[in-house]
């Protein structure tokens, strides 16, 4: 592409575009760099005390994000497998698009609806109290399972669509060949689409995990004490406890752990891929 673009719009223009791209990215990354620098310079803070006070927020953020991401991906994988096994090409495309529609109702809109349904006067709340699954004095809104359920339902539509998109990239001729050779629908989908669905799992997992981890609105309203995520704790420290230094410390530490974790996982999977391709050669 670079040669064609270079010949047509000129290599000078390409150089300008590259410089502008790097400049824009550096400019946009400056808050991240500032955060890391201020984390490094906050060594005089009492880390032990801060860790004791806010480790539960870090734990909640990571554990509930992990639980929600794994559950969402497993459910999406099952649904997509069901789509491929039970429906023809045109129908499964329509169903996948249908599943995607609720994702574009904004998070605030869907959260508001779940709050109404799970409140003590809502359908689900009344059902839980009526079946004596929950004591009358306890609100379903404060259950950790409600928090996880809301996070799953918010990101499930887009995960199903991601699984469907990856899974449908298997050529039709390969499916036909497997059918001629006597494979049934389930085994075709389990074996032929396995690799692509594994990629879909990785992509959907990263997206859902990052989104759940940085969620602010959902844990503020649902989950009771389980809703003490880093985002909500930072908000509390800034606006209620008026502890600006602790808020910055917690936020910077969390971002440092998360970014480092993702970059390490990314580089190690890249290196493993390189080593494997080298071994094949």
């Amino acid at each position: 592409m670079d040669k064609v673009v270079g010949r047509v719009i000129g290599y000078k223009a390409i150089s300008i575009i590259k410089v502008v791209s790097i400049f824009v990215l550096l400019l946009l990354l400056s808050p991240f760099i500032l955060g890391l620098v201020s984390l490094a310079t906050s060594l005089d803070l009492d880390w032990g005390q801060l860790w004791a006070a806010h480790s539960s927020a870090l734990w909640n953020s990571y554990s509930y994000a992990l639980l929600s991401a794994v559950s969402t991906c497993l459910l999406a994988w099952l649904c997509t497998l069901g789509l491929f096994v039970s429906y023809d090409d045109a129908t499964r495309r329509r169903v996948a698009l249908l599943c995607l529609i609720p994702f574009f109702a904004s998070t605030a809109a869907r959260l508001f609806s779940w709050v109404l349904l799970f409140s003590s006067f809502g359908v689900v709340g009344r059902l839980l109290h009526g079946l004596h699954l929950l004591p009358p004095q306890e609100s379903p809104l404060s259950l950790p399972s409600t928090l996880v359920f809301a996070l799953i339902t918010i990101y499930l539509p887009v995960s199903i669509f991601a699984f469907y998109s990856f899974g449908s990239s298997v050529p039709v001729s390969v499916e036909e060949a497997a059918t001629v050779l006597g494979a049934n629908s389930l085994s075709i989908n389990l074996t032929l689409r396995r690799r692509r669905l594994a990629w879909a799992f990785a992509v959907a997992f990263v997206f859902v995990f990052v989104s759940c981890h940085s969620a602010f609105m959902v844990p503020s309203v649902l989950g009771g004490s389980a809703g003490w995520f880093v985002s909500t704790s930072v908000d509390y420290l800034l606006n209620v406890a008026l502890r600006r230094d602790a808020a910055f410390f917690l936020s910077n530490l969390d971002t440092f752990i998360l970014t480092l974790g993702f970059l390490l996982v990314g580089f190690s999977s890249y290196l493993i891929g390189k080593l494997r391709s080298g071994a094949v050669k």
């Binding site: 047509v8 990215l25 109702a105 605030a108 508001f112 609806s113 908000d235 936020s251 971002t255």
Partner: protein, 261 residues
């Protein structure tokens, strides 16, 4: 398997269906009991000046964030595709970092930088934070689109003497127009979820968006008009579904063997 799929479809649609039900139910409280059909809550919402102001702010952000994210993503994508390895690694790492960093962290540190250069909270800072939030997704989408683009026809027409803008529109712009529109709407959609940016960076001059209006109403005065605020956001979000469907139908069309001129 079919039962599982349709149960999941029902569960993910339930919030939207319930919002419609609550908005049309003739009950002052958001109870589950049906007390007749009314459009009073819709009338109340539409005649509320705060809601109309919030709608204007939301639409403004949708358009500005969508456009900014689209233009920046296009520049970064062209830079990426015309570069060597080291540049690509820098771009990918930067986008991964921007994707991973929580909005709370980004907004707090952006505000510190803005204050150090004399900028105060307001709509501009909120738009910057929202554009950054949208940028990785929009760039990822445009990168895939541009990578699969065949530029041979474009180059051939330029070599044969066609004016560059015309050839650019005929052989590139037309092909990726629906994808660009989808990229724009993805950026705009991400701007709808703007509570963190609005709370931390909006300030008094940042304006109240529909999301913030829902948030404030949820905490103070829960009434069925909020259902219509939420449904309005859903209708704005429907813009992206239309773009998705357009791109999907374009991709599923059988391709001509012979290109017609």
């Amino acid at each position: 398997m079919r039962a599982l799929i349709w149960t999941v479809v029902l569960i993910v649609f339930l919030p939207v269906i319930y919002l419609l039900y609550a908005g049309l139910n003739n009950s002052e409280f958001m109870s589950a009991d049906f007390r007749g059909f009314t459009l009073m809550w819709l009338t109340n919402a539409v005649s509320d000046p705060r809601f109309l102001q919030a709608l204007a702010v939301t639409l403004l952000k949708f358009i500005v964030v969508g456009s900014f994210a689209c233009v920046l993503a296009l520049v970064i994508s062209i830079g990426y595709l015309t570069s060597r390895r080291w540049f690509r690694i820098v771009v990918i790492c930067s986008l991964v970092i921007l994707f991973v960093v929580p909005p709370t962290f980004y907004c707090l540190n952006l505000l510190s930088i803005a204050r150090s250069i004399g900028l105060e909270r307001g709509l501009f800072l909120a738009i910057v934070a929202q554009t950054v939030q949208a940028l990785p997704t929009v760039t990822g989408f445009l990168l895939l689109t541009l990578r699969n683009l065949n530029l041979n026809e474009f180059e051939a027409s330029v070599l044969l003497g066609a004016p560059i803008p015309l050839a650019l529109w005929r052989f590139v712009g037309k092909k990726i127009f629906s994808h660009l529109l989808l990229a724009f709407s993805i950026g705009g959609y991400i701007s709808l979820d703007d509570l963190v940016a609005n709370v931390y960076l909006g300030g008094d001059t940042g304006g109240i968006s529909i999301t913030k209006l829902i948030w404030e109403s949820m905490r103070s005065d829960v009434n069925p008009a909020i259902a219509w605020y939420s449904l309005t956001l859903t209708i704005i979000g429907a813009f992206i579904i239309v773009q998705f469907a357009r791109v999907d139908s374009q991709n599923s069309k059988p391709k001509d063997v012979v290109t017609r001129f």
